[in-house]
Symmetry: C2
Subunit: 725 residues, 2 copies
């Protein structure tokens, strides 16, 4: 890619961005669209636009810039605040790097003539050098003393990264502590998860076993326990019942709406009972759904009873009337063999993955290793199943196995299009499904909370994108040709990667620019959710609840957003010294991202869970992984440049590892456990323990109609006296 | 080495062993030697020989075999029992391996003719094949199908090892639990170490700060705290004082002994005050020492006061009146930033390394990394400083720097001897000093207890011996020639090691035999301690206390014993499939070791500390390291044999790693922390907390003369009311 085509693509992206900005300014001012552009404020009962009638179309920029961290926490939670710490930290790393790299390295590179010499000697492999490459380390002659500047720059970027991530870790730790010591009563701070409970001893019930165990250890603070049950059946019935209830509400609403002045008796809605409401007997909807509900309610009730009595599993939630004790209990080793009575701090009630709570210790271990192996294989060889899929779905095979497609396939034009696009289609589908697949795999590990599963999936996705986008694109075709060399000597991968780097620089420059201009433009303007909302509202929504469902915005989506940002971080970092021109692009990406997502966090997205910043150590580890990749790449690239002093870089990865260990030792445990110092802070009022307990009862088991006594099978008596020792 | 010289060396060792056995039987029956052969029984107040007057000289064998694990625990503690679990486990691994390997592999090897073929073709590097090699895998032809048997044997040995170490881990964990739940009151179960206490806030004393922090968190169970002080000065004075007291006692004893019937007034002992009592003024010893003591006592007292008041450090011991709370407190995270208020379960009072308690978190981290780097460098390049030392100590240099040695060095015969032996002497001194050096380095890491420091040193020593003895001897000269190859391609190390293996088999066979016959013979007969004891008794001991000092036996010496055993384990394991003949030698080593050390543990050695089996996870990790080395070696050796199915061995190291992780997850935490289930067991009586507290006061600070009130500066008020929340 030469300079002009690079500038063209940059210009195009910028124009698209400007258009999207204007579109946003125009559309967001229309009150009918407020539910798309301000849903978070609306759901929190705030005035969407903050009271001002005539807003400047760019008021959001000023609002985002002037918002404090406390605003973010109160509107969107600690996790979102931590995400902004991450964005600000990376932005800081790139700004501080740019201050040194741009004015120093670019002049040094431009005034050398390495590319010209290489062209004349033609000793290097054939590469197409563009004008942009004159600004990069590629233009330095082999063994030149000018490489000293680049070597020192490598150190500078690393130390800037150490300093800022250290500060960020400190800051995030303080944010977490502040949230955990809040005087508000949070149900999850009074509960722990207990798993791997040993078999019930002769003559005791499960409830008695659990209660006596914990009452003995925590005589004054143990409140009660809730035995985890297998809710598969009851959940199914409950979902079915809720579905019918919703449909009934909708039918009633439709019926009410049909009572116009012209036709005051209205039209009773009707539908067909068969497939998708297209075939079958036509019935009166309101009657039909009422009947179904009347049938299901007693069924659900009896299933609830059966579940609580007969489907008790070897796991439980244990409640304490004091959050310091709960924090301490979640950290203590309770049994001599670690796979008995394992404890864990409880997540928010809504985050619990019930079915994972009662997986055995040994099964969790085995599942974890199996998932790791599957993911490792997927990252390394993901192209193979896709190739297999596209081989199976070749047209001839399609014709063979799905003969009814024959007439379609035989159309000439369609045939060639299909043949050309089937493999790409398989790839696109695979990549679109990947985050969901990784989330599914992470849940299969036996992780008991939603937030943790998302973190695990996000980490896997990061390694997938870095390996496949960064390393994959860089090595591109070269990889397969040299695969044999690598097999013989895996150490040759680093120089190979390093020597292929400068060639891909412009590609990645364009990639980053596209990401921020088009990606953030779409993010801010919310064109797609807007269109979907209006379509749904027009054609599908029958009542108010449907409309609300249509605009409910979802959360920021850490699972894919953070790996995406980390990929850009890795790209820019790895190229920072080789092609310093990429650093300003990184600055714009993270600066613009900070600004636009600040707006989205304050006004649009609604977090679906809160982990009090537990995502941070994961982000930190991946920042360190990127740093290591950067340092190894630079070491390899100095080798390619035949620089005699390249070994001066050897300490860098070692320093990175020690830095990571130090941070881990100093900060990590406070993210895994709650410090007692933090948990002992006073609450604003004594906790209503019954309410705390109730908030953990899964919705399918809690019913106003079912008498409370029936839960006693799976719960335990409230400890009324404290005299058990 | 050919067969006859091997048999000769084996026979010689065996004869030495028989002689030492007879010597032991004869010497141990003499009552005058009982303090050398039964010190543990004598110190415990038991009858040395168990009551029987006329013992069979081999009664000890029967006694060792019939002793139960409980006997070992009551005589020598849990750590010793764990050591026997280790010996029995390794013995089991080798016995179960031998049962399959000997009858299967040796016939397969003997009936092949690989060595003959190799000699005829002369394709292999020149090696001297002995008759013994016909019994080994070396005699199998390249690519032969017979290699299948060896491949399966590799799996068999691995799975035997997994099974038995798993069982052992389980058993040791139960032993530890049993010891920790004992109803006896152990001071260390009521105390925790608190380090990295933040600076004292304005207007508070250190004592108030610590007490209010812990009283708030543990209102009912907090007893009091003891602030750690810098005891360097006071220790010095105390040691001096104790020295004089001992000398005074001795002088009094000498004076009393001199009062014979012939000379009833006796001879007052006198000595010279100068260097080593050889020069200086002659003084009356009793008067001199009494005077010194009178001088020192007030000095010590004022220093004690000053220490307690002014040398308080940022660490403390905190006492609880309940061992479950102490166990829980030692596990809990107390501060949001992990480097503040770090806690740790207290070791036995005598094990505390006071000066390490108040090293800062960050310094501990940095020290640890520095020590790791030093040890790694020492393991890899230990020959370099030795070469340097011997270069410096060459005769010419000696003459230059120490001119007074000139006349000695110039004697002809002496000169040539010195020149020949100086480097070896340097090596021997280095190897003899190494365990002490490693212990010193481990203590420098900031480890706060003696037992932990010994474990750390022992682990380092293991890697040193395995790398230098096993790999060093195997590769021997070959290494330096091929160093260049390895640098180019580190992967070539494994095949190189593998191909050099068979050549060293006989060397190691002899080494193991020497170790058990001569080593264990000396161990049992205790010739050296016996001679030292009698020499000391005759020439140095002046009073009863001196005699007791002369025979006090010390402990088993895990620091060097366990690495030594593990080295033999590694050797035998790595050769087990290649030269199955080595396995019976391993069986004898560990069988004989079990028997003889059982005797020594029951009758001789007195453990100097108790860690309740915390050494086991260290041993386990090193067993796994040996297994991995064995599996990699075998993989390499099958490669050398050009066996097409060698990759079938690839899963083995992966299985080993997963096995190790599983064990770690399942068992390890119970070794780092005390499970609450265990700590909550009833005590036989309410603990005397004052006595518990006093047992932790260092001897240099506890004095009958000093009034108790003076300690209050560094201790805290007993919490008399429990109403602080």
């Amino acid at each position: 890619m030469d300079l002009s085509s690079f500038l063209t693509s940059l210009g195009t992206s910028f124009v698209i961005f400007l258009i999207l900005m204007l579109v946003f300014a125009w559309l967001s001012s229309k009150p009918g669209n407020h539910v798309v552009y301000y849903p978070n404020r609306i759901l929190k009962g705030l005035d969407p636009t903050g009271g001002s009638r005539t807003r400047s179309p760019f008021a959001w920029i000023q609002e985002a810039l002037s918002s404090s961290e406390q605003d973010v926490i109160s509107m969107s939670g600690v996790d979102t605040a931590v995400y902004f710490v991450f964005l600000a930290t990376v932005l800081g790393i790139f700004v501080l790097s740019a201050v040194v790299l741009l004015p120093v390295l670019i002049p040094i590179a431009v005034t050398d003539d390495g590319i010209k010499n290489a062209k004349m000697n033609n000793t290097q492999t054939v590469e197409t050098f563009s004008e942009l490459d004159n600004l990069s380390m590629g233009n330095i002659n082999l063994r030149s003393n000018r490489l000293w500047a680049f070597l020192l720059a490598t150190y500078w970027v690393s130390f800037v990264a150490y300093y800022l991530t250290w500060k960020a870790y400190n800051h995030v730790s303080a944010l977490r502590a502040e949230a955990l010591m809040s005087p508000e009563i949070k149900a999850e701070q009074f509960a722990i998860i207990v798993r791997d409970i040993p078999p019930v001893p002769e003559g005791q019930t499960r409830k008695e076993q659990i209660d006596s165990f914990f009452r003995k250890l925590y005589p004054d603070t143990f409140y009660r326990s809730m035995i985890v049950t297998d809710n598969k059946e009851v959940n199914k019935l409950w979902v079915e019942l809720e579905g019918y209830k919703k449909k009934l509400d909708r039918s009633v609403a439709v019926f009410a709406a049909s009572k116009t002045e012209a036709k005051p008796e209205g039209v009773r809605p009707a539908h067909k009972t068969g497939f998708l409401g297209l075939v079958g007997k036509k019935v009166d909807s309101i009657e039909f759904y009422s009947e179904k509900i009347n049938e299901l309610v007693p069924k659900l009730e009896s299933e609830q009873k059966a579940t609580l009595r007969e489907k008790q599993k070897n796991a439980a939630l244990v409640f304490f009337n004091n959050r310091a004790t709960a924090a301490s209990a979640a950290q203590n080793l309770h049994a001599q063999i670690v796979d008995k009575w394992t404890v864990l701090a409880a997540p928010e009630p809504g985050q619990l993955i019930w079915a994972n709570l009662y997986i055995d210790f040994i099964h969790r271990q085995v599942r974890q290793y199996i998932v790791y192996v599957i993911v490792a294989l997927m990252i390394l060889f993901y192209t193979i199943p896709i190739a297999a899929v596209s081989a199976i779905t070749t047209l001839n095979n399609l014709k063979k196995y799905l003969p009814f497609l024959k007439p379609v396939v035989n159309i000439g034009a369609l045939k060639s299009i299909l043949e050309a696009f089937l493999p790409q289609l398989a790839l696109i589908i695979f990549l679109a499904m990947l985050p969901k697949l990784l989330l599914f795999l992470s849940k299969s590990e036996g992780i008991p909370s939603e937030g943790h599963a998302v973190r695990a999936a996000s980490g896997k996705y990061f390694y997938f994108t870095v390996l496949n986008v960064f390393i994959g694109v860089t090595l591109s075709g070269a990889l397969f040709e040299t695969l044999e060399t690598i097999q013989k000597n895996p150490n040759s991968l680093v120089p190979l990667l390093a020597s292929s780097l400068p060639g891909s620089a412009t590609f990645f420059l364009t990639y980053v620019a596209l990401k921020f201009f088009v990606g953030y433009g779409l993010e801010l303007s919310r064109i797609v959710p807007l269109i979907i909302f209006h379509l749904k509202k027009k054609f599908l929504c029958k009542c108010e609840a449907d409309v609300k469902d249509a605009w409910t915005p979802g959360d920021l989506g850490y699972g894919t957003r953070i790996p995406g940002d980390l990929l850009i971080f890795t790209l820019v970092l790895c190229y920072s010294v080789i092609t310093p021109l990429i650093v300003p692009f990184g600055v714009i990406y993270f600066g613009l991202g900070w600004l636009i997502l600040r707006n989205q966090a304050l006004k649009v997205y609604v977090p679906s869970y809160e982990t009090y910043g537990r995502i941070w150590p994961h982000i930190f580890n991946r920042i360190i992984a990127s740093l290591l990749l950067y340092q190894l790449t630079m070491f390899g690239f100095f080798g390619v440049k035949k620089f005699f002093y390249a070994p001066i870089l050897i300490p860098l990865p070692i320093i990175s590892l020690i830095f990571a260990f130090l941070c881990h030792n100093k900060f990590y445990r406070a993210f895994a456990d709650t410090a007692l110092e933090v948990a002992r802070y006073e609450l604003k009022e004594a906790p209503n323990m019954d309410q705390v307990f109730r908030s953990f009862v899964p919705p399918s088991l809690s019913s106003e109609k079912v008498d409370d006594d029936q839960f006693e099978d799976a719960r335990s008596q409230v400890s009324r006296s404290g005299s058990f020792v």
